[in-house]
Symmetry: C2
Subunit: 84 residues, 2 copies
């Protein structure tokens, strides 16, 4: 029997990094009459299955994936959620 | 005094829609030795502040934003979280 975990990675631009896509979305929403919206930031939601029985071990492995490929840690931060 | 809510919108490609970016990420992870990863899907995480005192009213307004601009509902689904 093999076991796997559901993984979610949230990748966000760090505070202070200009979010061009967020600005465009905010402008678009204002144009459409949604003037109540502010501070729009657009990030990435990466979801996958990962083999492994222990959440802590999967979490550590996903951290490696984030540092190596999933996030550009110069300008992005990431948050990892693992569910069995 | 004005009140605002923190809004998160998760936009995902619907099941069955080919996720080219997800395939590329999965391939990259496999190439880097993370062969335990499967079913990678890449979506969007949109976060913003929205004026409003009642979560239900903000939720309804954000649903309008999703249908009008934030998601392409032909191929994408969305999930809204509102926090006071």
């Amino acid at each position: 029997m093999s076991s796997h975990m559901k993984v979610q990675v949230f990748v966000r631009l760090k505070p202070g990094v200009l979010d061009v896509q967020g600005k465009a979305v905010e402008h678009g929403l204002h144009e459409m009459g949604f003037g109540d919206v502010h501070s729009v930031r657009v990030g990435k939601l990466i979801e996958f299955d990962c083999a492994g029985a222990a959440a802590a071990a999967v979490q550590a492995k996903v951290k490696q994936m984030c540092d190596a490929l999933l996030a550009n840690t110069v300008i992005e931060s990431y948050e990892i959620k693992v569910q069995g």
